[in-house]
Amino acid sequence: MSLVLGIESSCDETGAGIAKLHPDGRIELLADEVASSVELHARFGGVVPEVASRAHLEAMVPTVTRAVTKAGVELGDLDAVAVTCGPGLAGALLVGVSAAKAYAAALNVPLYGVNHLPGHVAADTLQHGLLPSPCLALLVSGGHTQLLRVDDLAGKITEVGSTIDDAAGEAYDKVARILGLPYPGGPPIDKAAAKGDPEAIRFPRGLTGPRDAPFDFSFSGLKTAVARWVEHRERDGLPVPVEDVAASFQEAVADVLTAKAVRAANELGIGTMVLSGGVAANSRLSGLAAQRCAEAGIELRVPRPRLCTDNGAMIAALGAHLVAAGTRPSALDLSADPALPVGTVSV
């Protein structure tokens, strides 16, 4: 049995989570504490790296303190520390990595520098148990949109496809701006779309031509198409039907994400799909994924929204997988790597 502290600071969330690895391999969530600086960034329309880094430094020890209290353990009970060492914002990652090294050194326990992206997949194991091998992960967040083949969370992860321009969450944030909705754009678009007609406007589905890369994504053209459509309405002196635009945009995103993911699962012969990352909280995306996976006989796993957005619990979970697999810990000269490739699960 092993208690793992997970620390996350790659973007605008300071996360500290504690997971317990049971002798049978089961991983139990004991604490999941998050301090977000999202409100500080709202008026800038996106994450300001220096603001995020300052907030991480302020929140780090208080967040770890809350996690330890929530879990009902003592710092001295911890058996390992895992930390996101990339990908992400350099200055933000540095705070988490520095703190994690200090905790590991002071508690005299192993340190695991881990990759944020497999962390999003590991989050699901806290809710639905261990993953079968292989499975397909559709990871959709503010910074990433990727299809991953996961043979082993502790080691073998391969990229099947990814966005060639904007991430899906980024498209939500940009379209929200076009529609005059607040940042972050996902939740207000989701809400507006609920009252709109998803078939009102046929927005383009990026990279779905016969010669396009079948598993890559593109959302920059979609965002421009929405801007163009809105500007034409304004030019013609017509009101902009925000709810219909939101619903039609959301339909285009959900359609292309789920169509490609299901096709990839079918072609690779994979029977389980995990949908994670902040955009997985989107009602239409999870709804359409559920419908299309059911039609294709694929088991769909979507962690609850709280586990989908950035958090420390997912990093603790990934750390617990590494402990279970007997992975060699990281050295204490570990450094943050803002561009850590997705195939590198631990450093």
Binding site: F44, V48, V51, L57, A90, L94, A100, A102, E231, H232
Partner: protein, 211 residues
Amino acid sequence: MLVLALDTATPAVTAGVVTLNGDLEVLAERVTVDARAHGELLTPHLLAALADTGRTLADVDAIVCGIGPGPFTGLRAGMATAAALGHALGIPVHPVCTLDAIAAGTEGPLLVTTDARRKELYWATYDDGARVTSPAVGPPATLPAAPARAGTTLYGDVLTMPHTGVEHPSPAGLVRAATGQLDRPARPLVPMYLRRPDATVPGTRKRVTTP
């Protein structure tokens, strides 16, 4: 009392082990000048310095941490390390101004400067090691005259007074600057940024069509 001293507010990664039993004695130190390696080197430096003295983190009674001013994201490497060490070991972390640590133990009037980037310096003035004016940031040409200077050697063409030779905070300087704080409850560990983050509120969105 065994004190761990660290600072990452200048291009140096400073780590040392100091005893305070009446006298201040530096038992071991590791100082590397590499502005891009703060995150990587600090914890190994601290452990190596401790190992030199045959002690471990469990033997440490207090931490003294430089809180800047510093422009490098590296400043936060030291402060996050110190805060987490203090939490995990259950010992106090005493903040000291990095400029004070550079001035500690000097005699007479002194100007201390460190690189603030963007053609500016962080600075403060001292007399016999005691701070006279509060830390500030500004262009080299706007700094007050002084008979001597310490800290960065940058802008020697503008700041022509003699340099004392001390460029970075040392473990001894950090602990000396904390004299009088160490037997009291630790003050809050708050970084001295002296600058607001660069961030601009976006204007109106760029159109994609011509009106």
